[in-house]
Symmetry: C2
Subunit: 168 residues, 2 copies
């Protein structure tokens, strides 16, 4: 039976800071700034950031990479008794991976109104028809996580404008 | 703009047979028998089968592995103008991966009433709120695909019964 790890507010803040650090690494690599970490027995056993452009893999989202890394670390596809921290609300794929890995609890930062599948468009992690349900905490360092993304996309739009102006 | 590849009935049957062959390889390896192939310009560019137990990865579903293989083959996370054939209705994670990879069309075999996310529990591939929609054809060699799974799980239950009887 999976146990939901209990964390203090300080621990939650600490692990989300680690996820934010990962998001900033993604940004420095020109990737959409999203980071994730997985915690087991109060230790961070996996951390990852979005790597889609570098790897040219549709699946290279922070959560999915962190899950695979944790599976390898624990030598098990089951991640019971772990917790996932991620800066953005998981998409459909990542929500499904969280369920498939039996992760019991997810803490996330900003909501994603266009593609978020745990609260915004769907509540996939809390569907009692499925063989696994996940406890979800939203809005953890949400403003900071959201600002990182907003600035990233503003920069991209500004660069596009400059390129268009030069091309004219 | 993604184009939906057009196939004859013979081609659909041929590619689903290839997916079924992959499912049988999974079975021979003691994995849940599910297989998938991805087709691009009438050629099979990726094929994969469920590999969860061998890899101990929660993400090692046939569709996800086929998508990553096709991404690598085409050197792009975008799989526009491809088609995915899979023996079982995709789960939430795989439906999300199909959307993330921009695959325009999916042909699948058996329905999965407990976890299927493209028709049974959800219609995730046909949600017009998302930035990509997928054409879905269900029930292609569905009976054969379903029988493979039924026999696999019957065998597991029978083996469990024998083990219990011996242990008594």
């Amino acid at each position: 039976m999976a146990q939901i790890p209990a964390f203090s507010d300080e621990q939650i803040d600490y692990f989300m800071q680690e996820a934010l650090n990962e998001a900033k690494i993604a940004q420095s690599e020109g990737e959409v700034p999203i980071g994730a970490v997985i915690v087991y027995e109060n230790q961070m056993i996996a951390c990852a950031h979005n790597h889609r452009e570098a790897d040219q893999l549709a699946t290279a989202h922070a959560e999915l990479l962190a899950i695979e890394s944790a599976n390898t670390k624990l030598k098990s596809w089951r991640l019971e008794n772990t917790a996932l921290f991620v800066t953005l609300e998981p998409c459909i794929m990542c929500a499904g991976a969280i369920i498939n890995a039996r992760i019991p609890v997810v803490y996330y930062g900003a909501n994603d109104p266009k593609g978020g599948a745990t609260r915004s468009l769907y509540s996939l992690l809390e569907d009692n028809r499925l063989n696994h349900m996940v406890k979800v905490y939203e809005g953890i360092r949400g403003e900071e996580s959201g600002l990182l993304l907003q600035r990233f996309f503003s920069n991209i739009r500004a660069k596009r404008k400059i390129r268009k102006a030069i091309a004219k």
